[in-house]
């Protein structure tokens, strides 16, 4: 087996995961994309484990660990997503914009503030 095959597959999977994380609006889809990326890493680990003939099986063991961590991650992630959904009736990632400057695009964002620049009041309003 040429190691380059699994490794290239893994690189492609990872890139696809990157695209999903960056482009998907639905938080659950983002989580799925993260899973894709994790799987790409797993494939890499297994491939290199096989290639290096690790007597301690570091690659495969680490793969198992990653799978376990992925399970934990998905559990917590979904719990968070559900909490968000319960509070906002939406899990669109780009509508969760409470951190944005003006809050204009987030429906549950803070009330509109003057975007005046250099005003003292503006400075006080933002500790």
């Amino acid at each position: 087996m040429h190691i380059v095959y699994p490794v290239v597959v893994s690189a492609l999977l990872f890139s696809i995961g990157v695209y999903g994380v960056l482009a998907r609006r639905n938080a659950i889809l983002v989580l799925m994309s993260v899973e894709l990326m994790l799987n790409a890493v797993n494939l890499n680990l297994v491939a290199f484990d096989v290639w290096l003939r690790d007597r301690l099986h570091g690659g495969q063991v680490l793969t198992l660990f990653v799978i376990v961590i992925a399970a934990a991650e998905i559990g917590l992630g979904l719990a968070i997503v559900l909490a968000v959904y319960r509070n906002r009736q939406s899990i669109d990632v780009d509508r969760l914009r409470d951190l944005s400057e003006t809050g204009a695009s987030g429906e549950a964002g803070p009330p509109e503030e003057p975007v005046g620049v250099g005003e003292d009041a503006d400075r006080e309003a933002r500790p």
């Binding site: 990157v18 994380v21 960056l22 482009a23 983002v30 990632v93 780009d94 969760l96 914009r97 409470d98 951190l99 944005s100 400057e101 809050g103 695009s105 987030g106 964002g109 975007v115 620049v117 250099g118």
Partner: protein
């Protein structure tokens, strides 16, 4: 003996501490009238008892000194007088403060000069304290007021008994502080606090010179002890510099030209304060310093010449200003400046004995005059002589006492002022100073003007038609009561007591009267008084000051010195300050604010990227990571 001196200095200080801390003890009482009364009563005890003790001690010290044998030959000409009067002297060093170069010795000394002035200070202070009990009866701040007077007394005594220039300077500065606090006693009125600040700043201006003068003397002599300084062999140039610098402080404290302007304004304070500080003691401190360091001044003839010129201008100008004032207290204030200039003239003429003699008598009669004026003001409810008149029947005791005071001021025999002023004029007449003719002329003229303004004040206050002012409408439920009685007894007693030395103190120094010059000055004084009387006689309703004609306004304004100062110093400084503020506000703050605004507006551009979209951030993050990776591979 020195412990007695220490006690004399410390007793008023203890009174001040007790008055400040203890008069409202036990704490927790609300500010009711009863509590205020009780506090005032306590404060009066705290103030009067130690001063009385100090007076007794001082008298005992004086008697001891009078009986003691002289310690040695007089160290400088003119000192024989003190030695003759009070030959005993004592000196004690409590501690030495090592400063690294010239040590400061914490020394007190008592000799003839200081005991004399000490008696004056304690007597006047006691009189004022007693007087204040009545005068400040309803003032809730009486405790702090009397405590400050005690502190002031202590400081003045420290100056008087100081054996070391630095110790003296400490007392000197505490006096300045107390003066500030007491002038501003009624600080609710803006004018009063302004007057306090003015007094503080003007005297401070002189004190800077004074401090440097002390340093110059001390470093030249290698010691700050007064005896060491006086006996040290100091080069003439240094001496002239030092005495000139000291002269600045003297001018500041004693309200001499050109630093005289604070004194009339300081009349804003309570009248007893005017009597104590601005007539009898604090202003006397300047004269006292010159007398104390007289050998040094004698060695610096140019300084004495300058002092002579200053004194000549000051005495005549202040007397003329006094002639035109309507405010009784301001009349007295200008007369104080004038009389202090007399003393300075005596010093300049080479007779510290005459100057100190006049200082003592002046202290007595001026305190008397101020306290009497206070009683009159208390009675009338106004400072202005326009509101007074015909008071000789309603306040007979005050009238009598103030008559004595005015006589002393004019220099009429047998009042004390006659002898002391004669001594000064005689000293001037026999002076060998190059400014002697000028000084002598000014002195004689001033005698005439003094007679005039004293007569005017006397006439306008106690004679002529009574001007009964309508009393303000009393609160509902109280009857219209005209309090036609005289001031309370606690105010009358000090006036009466002070009248005695004002009248008789002259005979203590009667030893050598120059009858020639005395006659001349007496005639001149009567001439001035007569002119005023003539004018007043013609129209008792009108102010005799109208005889000055067009010159009157200038006199009333004290020759526009204040205005000149305002134009020359105050306005430019204010303008400069305003300019600095504007510069600070627009240039400095503008730069800061502009930097902030620039940053904020620049950040506004950066903020455009902060949409709150986490995916956008991660996109940027990954793109940057890729760029860095590629750059690291390509460039590395």
């Amino acid at each position: 003996m020195i412990s007695v001196v220490v006690l004399i200095v410390l007793l008023p200080f203890a009174a001040a501490v007790a008055g400040l801390l203890g008069s409202r003890w036990p704490r927790g009482g609300s500010r009711t009238k009863e509590n205020d009364r009780a506090a005032a009563r306590r404060a009066a005890w705290f103030a009067i008892a130690p001063i009385t003790a100090a007076l007794l001690l001082t008298l005992w010290l004086a008697s001891w000194s009078a009986r003691a044998l002289p310690r040695g030959s007089a160290s400088y000409p003119g000192a024989e007088f003190w030695a003759g009067l009070l030959p005993g002297s004592t000196e004690g060093t409590l501690t030495m403060v090592e400063t690294g170069s010239v040590p400061i010795s914490f020394t007190l000394r008592a000799d003839g000069l200081s005991i004399l002035i000490g008696v004056l200070v304690v007597v006047v202070a006691l009189a004022v304290q007693v007087y204040s009990v009545g005068y400040m009866r309803d003032d809730p701040r009486h405790p702090s007021y009397s405590a400050f007077i005690s502190l002031f007394t202590s400081a003045m005594l420290l100056v008087v008994y100081a054996g070391d220039l630095i110790v003296l300077y400490a007392g000197w500065e505490i006096m300045g502080l107390c003066s500030y606090l007491l002038i501003g006693h009624w600080w609710e009125d803006r004018a009063n606090s302004r007057a306090a600040v003015k007094a503080f700043l003007v005297t401070r201006l002189g004190d800077v010179g004074f401090l440097f003068g002390i340093f110059t003397l001390g470093f030249a002599a290698g010691s700050f002890r007064i005896d060491d300084v006086l006996s040290a062999d100091i080069p003439r140039g240094t001496l002239i510099t030092a005495t000139m610098l000291l002269l600045a402080g003297v001018a500041g404290k004693s309200a001499q030209v050109p630093l005289q302007t604070w004194l009339p304004d300081a009349m804003a304070g309570p009248t007893p304060i005017s009597a104590l500080i601005h007539a009898a003691t604090m202003v006397a401190a300047g004269i006292f310093i010159v007398a104390r360091l007289y050998p040094a001044f004698l060695g610096a003839q140019p300084t004495l010449d300058v002092l002579a010129v200053v004194a000549a201008i000051g005495m005549l100008g202040a007397a003329l200003a006094a002639l035109a004032q309507d405010d009784l207290k301001r009349v007295l204030a200008y007369s104080t400046i004038s009389q202090l200039a007399y003393m300075a003239a005596g010093l300049a003429a080479g007779s510290d004995k005459a100057a100190i003699f006049h200082l003592l008598t002046h202290g007595a009669f001026k305190a008397l005059l101020f306290l009497g004026a206070g009683a009159v003001i208390h009675h009338v409810g106004s400072n202005l002589m326009t509101h007074m008149g015909g008071l000789r029947t309603s306040v007979p005791i005050t009238f009598a006492a103030m008559t004595v005071g005015f006589a002393a001021l004019m220099g009429l025999p047998p009042a004390s002022g006659f002898f002391s002023k004669d001594a000064v004029i005689a000293a001037i007449e026999h002076s060998h100073s190059p400014a002697q003719p000028f000084l002598y002329g000014a002195a004689l003229l001033t005698v005439g003007v003094t007679g005039a303004y004293a007569m005017r004040a006397w006439l306008r206050t106690f004679f002529g038609p009574a001007r009964v002012e309508a009393l303000p409408e009393p609160p509902p439920g109280t009857a219209h009561v005209f309090d036609g009685r005289e001031a309370p007894r606690s105010m009358l007693w000090p006036i009466g007591v002070l009248a005695v030395p004002a009248l008789l103190l002259g005979f203590a120094g009667v030893t050598e009267v120059d009858w020639g010059s005395a006659l001349v000055s007496l005639i001149v004084a009567l001439l001035g008084a007569g002119v005023v009387y003539a004018f007043w006689r013609g129209a008792p309703h009108q102010d005799p000051a109208r005889m000055l004609g067009p010159f009157r306004t200038a006199c009333e304004r004290a020759f526009y010195v204040d205005e000149a100062y305002r134009a020359v110093f105050a306005r430019p400084v204010l303008r400069l300050a305003r300019g600095v503020v504007r510069t600070d506000g627009q240039v400095v703050d503008g730069a800061v604010r502009g930097a902030g605004r620039l940053t904020m507006s620049l950040s506004g551009f950066v903020r455009l990227a902060q949409k709150g979209n986490a995916q956008l951030y991660v996109t940027g993050l990954l793109a940057g990571l890729l760029l860095i990776t590629v750059a690291a591979v390509v460039l590395g």
